[in-house]
């Protein structure tokens, strides 16, 4: 069975050793290893687009909406409410961002996106928490309503505005972007050199220091804040207890209904911010149907990330990267095959050292298939990267379902007083 992070430490190690420090050391090594690998693949294949600053910037833009939806999903599911309605809440967010930005500027626009998303969340909470409707059923209805409401509201309010039409509103003010003077230019020129490792780090620095939207910073900050609130405060502990064992929480005096309501409304608001990001930063305005299923990808990223902020961040970055890459270069996708193969081999070796031989073999074989695919072809159809998030999630669910642990009472209808 899965070993949780707390039990992996050697028994002899002093329990006082700060866990956070050990973790960041591990992640730092992992990040360094990843950069070295990417750099090597880039040099072998000659595909500079693989991690050019432009590619990374596009990847970050594609990551943020997925990340917000996923973190939103985490809030809701940690309190035990499955939120399939993320997509609908996100769509409401795109409209809210456009409307409020048009009249009051981008800052109010972001709040408007959160507000509209929260309305969608409240609808879901009303049905699931107050009336005890099945969570999936309510989520499907919320998606239908969100889609219809955004399309209807757009036609009612954006028709006839300058830059607007029944299905779009462009020319919106964007949230402030920051470019770190000096650092940005230096990093950009260094990344153009194509050196091993150095240029790759420079690309990353350049992507993060050039034209970085405040909203992007806010999105990543919200991930940290969510993690801190849910895992480091007593409020978060109570909220998560509602997702694990609501009857127990109730018997300890927690107002389960209230906590679930808060979680689902916050969930909707975050998904709404993700939609707002799409309308304000990732593209040049509001268009009907802009989300294109990103709410569902967010749901996938949440499961991929094991209902935890760190994993969700990793999943969203991966999905965002594969989402943005096809737009830039078709040949780069081919180089990606090698990267995937190496990643799978690394995973296989890691599993092997943990004596999980069967899984190691599975990963090794899949990695080998990718390597063969890389060596025998010249190009990969663009469409195939679009499937990456979905296939990755299916594979993760199929092969490491034992390692995933969703909140214990997730998706179950709770009734007040059921603790007896």
């Amino acid at each position: 069975m899965s070993q949780t992070a707390t039990s992996t430490g050697t028994p002899g190690a002093a329990p006082q050793e700060p866990r956070a420090a050990r973790f960041s050391y591990f992640w730092l090594l992992l990040a360094l290893g990843a950069i070295v690998t990417v750099s090597a693949v880039r040099l072998i294949t000659g595909q500079d687009q693989l991690d050019s600053s432009g590619s990374l910037r596009a990847a970050i833009l594609a990551t943020c909406p997925i990340l917000m939806a996923a973190i939103g999903g985490m809030w809701s599911e940690r309190a035990g409410v499955v939120n399939i309605g993320l997509e609908g809440q996100m769509i409401l967010g795109t409209w809210g961002a456009a409307y409020f930005t048009y009249y009051y500027g981008p800052w109010v626009g972001i709040l408007g996106a959160a507000l509209m998303g929260a309305v969608g969340g409240a609808l879901h909470a009303l049905a699931t928490v107050t009336f005890g409707v099945d969570h999936i059923v309510s989520g499907v209805a919320v998606n239908i309503i969100g889609l219809g409401a955004a399309a209807f509201l757009a036609e009612a309010y954006f028709t006839g505005l300058p830059g607007g039409g029944p299905r779009q509103l462009s020319g919106l003010d964007r949230p402030l972007s920051i470019t770190v003077p000096g650092l940005a230019d230096g990093a950009e020129s260094l990344s153009d050199k194509g050196w091993f490792f150095v240029s790759d780090v420079a690309s990353l620095v350049s992507a993060l220091s050039t034209n970085l939207s405040i909203l992007t910073v806010l999105v990543f900050a919200l991930v940290g804040v969510s993690g801190w609130v849910l895992w480091r405060t007593s409020f978060g502990l109570r909220l998560r207890s509602c997702g694990e064992n609501p009857q127990a929480s109730e018997s300890l005096g927690v107002n389960v209904i209230l906590y679930k309501w808060i979680a689902v409304v916050v969930s909707g608001a975050l998904a709404g911010v993700g939609g707002g990001f799409l309308a304000l930063v990732a593209s040049s305005g509001f268009v009907t149907g802009q989300t294109g299923g990103r709410g569902y990808i967010g749901l996938a990223a949440m499961i991929f990330g094991n209902w935890r902020p760190g994993g969700i961040l990793a999943g969203s970055l991966m999905f965002g990267y594969t989402d943005s890459l096809p737009l830039r270069s078709a040949d780069t996708i081919h180089a990606l095959l090698l990267l995937v193969a190496i990643g799978l081999f690394a995973l296989a070796i890691w599993r092997f050292t943990r004596k999980q031989t069967r899984q190691a073999i599975v990963f090794g074989v899949i990695g080998l298939l990718f390597l063969v695919w890389f060596l025998t072809t010249d190009q990969v159809p663009r469409e195939f990267t679009g499937m990456t998030p979905y296939i990755a999630t299916l594979l993760v669910l199929a092969f490491s379902a034992q390692r995933l642990r969703m909140p214990k009472a997730d998706g179950q209808v709770y009734r007040k007083g059921s603790a007896g």
């Binding site: 049905a127 499907v140 239908i144 309503i145 889609l147 209807f152 195939f384």
Partner: protein, 372 residues
């Protein structure tokens, strides 16, 4: 609880839901600065002959879609993937029929079989993943929807025949088309003959669920999985079979339109029926008769809303809100009615128990419960 009161209870819920949806829609329309009266007048105007034909055609497809979702729902299996299943099935069937391997009407049969098998296989992936690896069917079918969309898109852009800006599969031969029946004038269009598939599927659904061992097992699993297991039902086998049936029905969804008027997979393909079907299945309480009314209601709203674009400044998307609210309101209403019925039953039992002398023991209380 008498059967009559139960029947009234299950009729009250949808009525309350429709009224609630009408109220909320009116408020939305009023808030956007248009007149709700005008809106309802346009929606409830008697449909033109052409619209009648469309309503019948559309509701047959919605009905099939809802039936596909309902069979899963009856055993607590959430097949959210109807959308992807009928897309895969429609595309593969269109390719096979377009290639005209066999002549005439035989080609139609082949096309239907291919559609059913493709839909069933695509849904089967989710079923097998659930049974062998414990993957939630909700997540896997959502993922499979997206994968189906991408795959079909890829095949269309690689092998599709270019017509202008769009691509399509080969048009099916004249002999493999299934003509419709024109109740009104020629220009008002035809009711597709394959609409009959929906009727047959509905009857089969009702028969299998209510009159066969399999149907009993399926409903038992839905009501109480532990009880079903205890009485010898192999739940994992049930899951895979129901997913296969659900996907098979899903595969048929677009077939009436395909053989009746589209003749190729391309711009004429109608997407989105999968999600409408889920909504209608919920509305109709997963029963064929209820689903039929739900499908007619949704098709009616869809078709009548086309009038809004011509005759008013109200967006026709408003009916999406109406439909969503109907679904949400109806499930809330069902839940409220169910809870009240359960409470009333419990009260009745308690009253009977209290009316009897205390010393009568536990034996007689069994009979009172049965009477209640």
């Amino acid at each position: 609880m008498t059967p009559l009161r139960k029947a009234v209870g299950s009729l009250v819920a949808p009525l309350v839901a429709v009224v609630a949806a009408m109220l909320i829609t009116s408020v939305v329309v009023a808030l956007s600065g248009s007149s709700p009266m005008e809106f309802w007048q346009i929606i409830f105007e008697p449909p033109a002959d052409r619209v009648y034909v469309n309503i019948v055609n559309q509701s047959s497809m919605i009905f099939l879609s809802a039936l596909a979702a309902a069979i899963g729902f009856r055993m607590n299996l959430f097949n959210i993937g109807v959308e992807g299943q009928y897309q895969m099935a429609s595309y593969v069937s269109a390719v096979v029929v377009g290639a005209a391997f066999v002549p005439g009407p035989l080609n139609v049969v082949l096309g239907l079989v291919v559609a059913v098998v493709t839909g069933a296989l695509w849904a089967g992936i989710a079923g097998v993943l659930k049974v062998t690896r414990g993957v939630s069917e909700v997540i896997s079918t959502i993922m499979l929807n997206a994968i189906a969309g991408t795959l079909v898109g890829y095949f269309m852009s690689t092998y599709g025949i270019r017509t202008g800006n769009a691509r399509q599969t080969a048009t099916i031969p004249e002999s493999s088309r299934v003509p419709g029946f024109t109740p009104f004038l020629e220009r008002d269009g035809a009711i597709w003959s394959l609409v009959l598939i929906a009727v047959l599927a509905g009857i089969a659904f009702s028969f299998v669920l209510n009159r066969t061992r399999f149907g009993f097992d399926l409903r038992a699993t839905g009501m109480s999985e532990t009880a079903a297991v205890a009485s010898g039902v192999k739940v994992s086998r049930m899951i895979v079979i129901s997913m296969l049936i659900s996907g098979g029905i899903a595969g048929l969804i677009w077939m009436p339109a395909f053989f009746g008027s589209a003749y190729s997979y391309g711009t004429a393909y109608q997407a989105g029926l999968g999600f409408t079907g889920i909504a209608v299945a919920l509305l109709g309480r997963n029963r064929p008769l209820g689903i039929m009314f739900g499908a007619l209601l949704f098709a009616f709203l869809n078709e009548q809303s086309n009038r809004l674009t011509l005759n008013s400044d109200i967006s026709q998307n408003v009916v999406l809100i109406t439909q969503g609210v109907i679904v949400l309101a109806v499930v809330v209403a069902y839940e409220v009615v169910r809870r009240r019925q359960a409470a009333a039953e419990q009260r009745a039992v308690t009253q009977k128990l209290q009316a009897e002398p205390r010393g009568s023991g536990t034996g007689p209380s069994d009979t009172t419960e049965v009477k209640a």
